[in-house]
C-alpha cells in the first residue's frame, strides 16, 4: 500500500519535471514551422537548423566559447584561494571565501546590475571579454565549494610524509595534492560550464546589445514569435546538462559532492 503510494508520488514528481521537456521535444520535431503538439509530421531539420542557420550557429559558438573560458577562469580563481585556505592558518582570508559565495547566493539581478554599472563606468561596456570575467565571478562559487570539499578530504599524513622526505610546497602540490583534488576540480569546472551555458541575465546585461549567446537568442526570438529551433536548442541543452552531470556522477561521488555543496551554501 505505502509502496504503491510512494511509487505514484515519485511518478508524479517525475512527470512534473519531465512534462515541459516532453512537450518541447514534441514541438521540436514538427515538420513545418508551427508550434504544434502532438507534432504534425516528423522531421529533425530543426536540429540541423542550430548548426546550419548562421544566427543560431553564431549564438551556439558564442555560448560555448563563453562557457569554456569563464569556467576555466572561475577554476583559476578558486584553486589558489582554496589551496591557500587549506595550507595556511589565516582566518581573515576566509572573507574571500565569503565574497566568492556571495554572487551565487544573492538574486542574480544584483550581480548583473553591479557588473553592468561597473563596465559602463570603466568604459568597457559591450566588449566580449567582459562577459567572460562576469561569468567567472558569478560562477566562482561552484569550483570554490567543490575544491574546498576536495581539500578537506585530503589525508594530511600523506602531505606530511612527502614533506618529511624533503619535498617543497611546489613538489607536494604537483605530485600529491593535484592528483587528489583533480576530480573536484573537474566537477567544479563542469558545474560552472553548464550553468554558464544556460545563463541569461548577466550575459544580457554585459554584452546583450552587441552579441547573442544562445539563451539571449532564444529570448529575442521569443519576442518575435516562435520557431521550432528554440525547442530543438532547449532539448540540446537538457541533453548536454544530463550527459555532463552523468559523467560527473560516473567519475566522481555525486551524492557526496551535493551533500557538502548545499551545507556549504547555508
Amino acid at each position: 500500500m505505502t509502496g504503491m503510494f510512494n511509487r505514484l508520488y515519485f511518478f508524479l514528481i517525475g512527470l512534473f519535471m519531465a512534462l515541459p521537456m516532453i512537450v518541447v521535444a514534441g514541438v521540436s520535431v514538427n515538420e513545418k514551422q508551427t508550434l504544434a503538439f502532438p507534432p504534425k509530421g516528423f522531421s529533425l531539420s530543426w536540429y540541423g537548423e542550430i548548426f546550419l542557420n548562421p544566427e543560431w550557429r553564431n549564438a551556439l559558438f558564442a555560448s560555448v566559447t563563453l562557457a569554456v573560458l569563464s569556467a576555466a577562469l572561475a577554476v583559476a580563481i578558486a584553486l589558489p584561494l582554496s589551496w591557500f585556505l587549506w595550507r595556511r592558518v589565516a582566518p581573515w582570508a576566509n572573507i574571500f571565501q565569503l565574497i566568492g559565495i556571495a554572487p551565487f547566493t544573492l538574486p542574480p539581478v544584483i550581480t548583473a546590475l553591479g557588473l553592468l554599472t561597473f563596465w559602463a563606468t570603466t568604459g568597457f561596456y559591450g566588449q566580449p571579454w567582459t562577459a567572460v570575467i562576469s561569468h567567472a565571478i558569478f560562477f566562482v562559487t561552484l569550483p570554490l565549494v567543490t575544491l574546498s570539499l576536495g581539500f578537506t578530504a585530503i589525508d594530511r599524513s600523506l602531505v606530511e610524509a612527502a614533506a618529511t622526505m624533503g619535498a617543497d610546497d611546489r613538489t607536494i602540490f604537483r605530485t600529491v595534492v593535484l592528483p587528489l583534488i583533480l576530480p573536484y576540480m573537474v566537477s567544479g569546472y563542469a558545474f560552472a560550464f553548464v550553468l554558464s551555458l544556460n545563463e541569461y541575465i548577466v550575459a544580457y546585461m554585459t554584452v546583450g546589445f552587441v552579441m547573442e549567446t544562445l539563451p539571449i537568442k532564444i529570448f529575442n526570438a521569443l519576442r518575435y514569435g516562435y520557431t521550432p529551433t528554440m525547442a530543438s536548442v532547449t532539448i540540446l541543452f537538457v541533453a548536454t546538462a544530463a550527459v555532463i552531470f552523468s559523467l560527473v556522477a560516473r567519475f566522481g561521488d555525486l551524492p557526496k559532492l551535493l551533500g557538502a555543496m548545499a551545507s556549504e551554501d547555508k
Binding site: P103, L195, A260
Partner: protein, 284 residues
Amino acid sequence: MRREAPQKIGDYAPLFFPAMMLIVFFVVPFATMIAVSFFQRQQGGFYVPAFVLSNYERFISWFFANVLGFSLMLAVVVAICCVVLALPFTYLLTRMKRKVQIVWLVALLSVLSLSEVIIGFAWSTLFSRTAGITNLLVMAGIMSEAKALLPSFGAVLTGMVYQAFPYTVLVLYPALVRLDPTLTEAARTLGASPVRAFFTVVVPALRNTIVATLIMVFIFALGSYLLPQLLGRPQHWTLSVLITDQAIYQSNMPFAAAMAVFLVLVTLGLVALTVLAGRKGEAA
C-alpha cells in the same frame, strides 16, 4: 604538513590573483552600484554623479508597495509549495538505493541548470493553445476545446515551483542523508505507521532545517527575473523583473540600482535569519 600561519610575504602570493579578481570584479562593481543608486538621472538614459535620495523616495508609492508586496507573497507561496512537495520526496529519495538516487540527482541537476529563458519558453509552450496540455485533455475527451492557460498567476506559480523544486531537494538532501535512520526505526517498532513516523519524528527533528530551507528557497524565488514576465501579466511582475526592466528598457540606472540595493538588504536580512536558525539547530 600542519597548517601554519603565513611566515613571510611570499606566502601570501597565491592569494593575490583570487583576491584581486574578487575585489576588482565583485566588490568594486557592488560599490559602483550603490554609488549609482544615489546618482541623478538625466534625460536620454544617462546619469551624473550626485548625491540625491530621489531614487529611494520613489519607493514610497502605492505602485512600489504593490510590487514589493506581490514579490514577497509570490516568493513565500513558492517556498511553501516547494518545501511541502520536496520534503517527503527527498526523505524517501535518501532511503533509496544509491544508483537510483544518482539517476534522480542527475535529472534534478539538469533541470536546475536550465536557463530561465528555457523554462519560461517550455512552460509557455505547455500552457499555449496550439501545443499545450489542453490538447492532451481534448484528445482524452475531458475538454471540448483547447485553450491557453497563460498569462495567469497559476502559470507564474507553476513555472517558479518547477524552477525552485530541484533547488529545494538539493538544499534538503544533505540534512536528510545525515538523519539518523534509527529514529524512524524506533517509531516503527513502537507501532507508528510510516506516514505517522514521518510527521511525528522526521519533521520535528528537522524543524530548523525546514525553516532554513524555506528561507533559502524564498531568496531563490525572489531572484526569478523572467518567469513572471513570460508567464504572467504586468501585475505579476516582481521586484527582480522591475529592476531588469528599469535598467534595460527604461534606461533608468539610478532607480534600478536603488531597487537592487533594497533587494540586497532584504536578502541579507533573510540570510542573517537563516544563519540564526542554523545556530539554534546546532545548540539544540
